[in-house]
């Protein structure tokens, strides 16, 4: 069966929020919302789960911490013990203080880059990737709700169409995939 996708456009984020609430209360699954800026409070309405990016950030940070420690221990202690300012590096722990700033910086570097790259991969917005956006106006001043028939098998396309028209839309677009 061909899948139909509805794109309902709004010109105000509050009206979109009301519309989404209305649809969800009837049991419609909203699959995506496009907006030029983050809409405060939309996540619980359309049933988005909390982001797991924070967990990944922690793991990336831990990776950076370990890499920095292992690396510096090898460069500065094992491979070629350095004597800086009369402080010979006989063991890593002796001069631990000197290594803390670099460890910190590398942790931040790994966490930040890891987060940014994960975010782009997960959202398929790496440079050069095709735009996933249904309408370029959603990057300016319009807001779009996306509804798929495959996710709403309870309703027919006509019912979904009628329900969307009950909300304060300014445009309604349909596509078949």
């Amino acid at each position: 069966m061909a899948e139909k996708v509805f794109y309902a456009m709004y010109d105000d984020d509050d009206i979109l929020k009301d519309g989404a609430k209305h649809l969800v209360s009837k049991g419609v699954k909203v699959s995506e919302v496009f907006s030029p800026f983050p809409i405060h409070g939309i996540d619980p309405i359309i049933g988005l789960k909390n982001t797991r990016l924070g967990i990944m950030a922690f793991i990336y940070g831990l990776t950076g911490l370990l890499l920095a420690t292992i690396g510096m221990r090898y460069f500065m202690v094992t491979d070629w013990p350095m004597n800086i300012g009369g402080k010979p590096n006989e063991s890593y722990l002796d001069n631990m203080l000197a290594f803390v700033p670099i460890t910190f910086e590398f942790t931040v570097l790994c966490a930040a880059h890891g987060m940014a790259i994960t975010y782009m991969l997960r959202n398929k917005i790496l440079p050069g990737m095709p735009a996933y956006n249904p309408d370029p106006r959603t990057t300016d001043d319009r807001f779009v709700i996306e509804i798929r028939t495959s996710e709403n098998s309870k309703f027919s396309a006509e019912e979904l169409n009628a329900m969307l028209k009950e909300t304060g839309i300014v445009e309604l677009d349909q596509k078949e995939i």
């Binding site: 409070g41 300012g85 203080l97 000197a98």
Partner: protein, 395 residues
């Protein structure tokens, strides 16, 4: 809604004060023969006087910060910050009394620069005598106390007045006054830390010391704020304060712990790296004579909040926040205690009945004053211009 102190809380603070006094008396009796008894009592007086004064001053600073930045979220917990800052007169009294006794005893081996014999024989102390002398010390101390109290009094007066008259005039007055207060505070928080705490180690100096002390003060003030809010929430007060506010204060606890740790490390590492004899003495005393306590203090003030409060859910969980909060409070008390006692008593200092007793006694007193202050004004300000924003605060 008006807050009434529960009888249980009254009893508990009395028990705390009683236990503290009992411990203190046991400590004094068992220490009667020692030469160091007076000095030990004064060291603890200075530690606790400064620590609890700083809890109030940290709250006053935080209040001024919110006024100056015109924040909205804090409006529904504003009265708690004010009640905490309301300990300021008592803190001034305590700290002032201890400083006065020390001055009358010519430094009591704590501020050795007050001792005329030392000034004569010690060229370094003599060289600092233009700044560190009794008269100028008291001029500065009175200036700090006076300015802090003056602004506290003004903020409190206008806050209560705002409940009656409303409007935005008082808000803009607060905005201006807070900005000026922050300028005074920026200078005074540093110089007062030099005068009251750094001058214990009179041969040593660090330009970071003021910020370090200030960061510790700020962190412990935030902890007291979050604990008070949680306590009031548990009793069913503050219906307008939701978990988003608690999350925000939790973030302050987390962030200021990091600020403190960052300054601790900056001061420590630079002195360790440069390795100049006149600078490292400070850390040699602490890392050799106080090895365990010093690093234990650093770990509980840094690692605990970092690891436990990192996740979002932990900052919204009353149990975790209270647990970490109490540990941080103890940690920062230890920090101040080491600052004062390591420099003055050296290896003779240890934690015993006197230390614990006096801290518990004054903690009980502090809690009692805090609760009394809370009961004196409506818990939620009525006409704060950002009250509506605060009620709808969501993060």
């Amino acid at each position: 809604m008006e807050f009434k102190i529960a009888n249980k809380a009254k009893m508990l603070t009395l028990i705390l004060m009683g236990l503290g006094a009992l411990c203190l008396i046991i400590g004094i009796i068992s220490d009667l023969g020692s030469h160091h008894l007076t000095q030990r009592l004064l060291v603890n007086g200075l530690t606790n006087g400064f620590y609890f004064f700083a809890l109030a001053l940290g709250a006053l600073f935080f209040l001024a910060l919110q006024y100056a930045t015109e924040s909205g979220w804090y409006a529904s917990v504003k009265r708690i910050i004010e009640a905490q800052a309301g300990f300021l007169p008592y803190g001034i009294g305590l700290l002032g009394l201890v400083l006065l006794i020390i001055t009358l005893m010519d430094g009591a081996h704590i501020y050795i620069w007050m001792d005329p014999e030392v000034v004569k024989s010690d060229p370094i102390v003599a060289g600092k005598a233009f700044y560190l002398n009794k008269i100028f010390f008291w001029v500065r101390t009175i200036a700090y106390f006076g300015v802090y109290y003056w602004y506290f009094w003004g903020f409190k007066k206008r806050s209560l007045l705002e409940d009656k008259v409303g409007g935005t005039d008082l808000h803009f007055t607060n905005y201006k006054k807070a900005a000026v207060f922050l300028v005074f505070f920026a200078v005074f928080s540093s110089t007062s830390a030099w005068d009251w705490l750094m001058s214990v180690d009179v041969h040593w100096f660090s330009t970071l010391f003021g910020w370090y002390t200030f960061a510790g003060m700020w962190c412990s003030a935030m902890v007291v704020l979050v604990l008070t809010v949680l306590y009031l929430k548990k009793l069913g007060y503050l219906p307008k304060v939701n978990e988003n506010h608690i999350h925000d204060i939790g973030k302050w606890v987390f962030a200021t712990s990091f600020l403190w740790s960052y300054l601790f490390f900056s001061q420590y590492m630079l002195i360790w790296y440069a390795n100049i004899p006149e600078e490292v003495t400070y850390y040699v005393t602490r890392t050799q004579d106080f090895r365990f306590v010093y690093f234990f203090m650093f770990i509980i003030n840094f690692a605990f909040p970092m690891l436990i409060l990192m996740s979002r859910d932990a900052k919204r969980h009353a149990g975790i926040l209270s647990f970490v909060g109490l540990i941080i409070l103890a940690g920062h008390w230890l920090d101040v205690w080491i600052m004062v006692s390591a420099g003055s008593m050296g290896t003779n200092a240890h934690i015993g009945f006197i230390e614990i007793g006096m801290a518990v006694l004054i903690a009980g007193f502090f809690i009692r004053i805090l609760l009394t202050n809370l009961s004196k004004a409506p818990l939620t300000p009525v006409n704060h211009p950002f009250l509506d924003e605060s009620i709808h605060h969501e993060i």
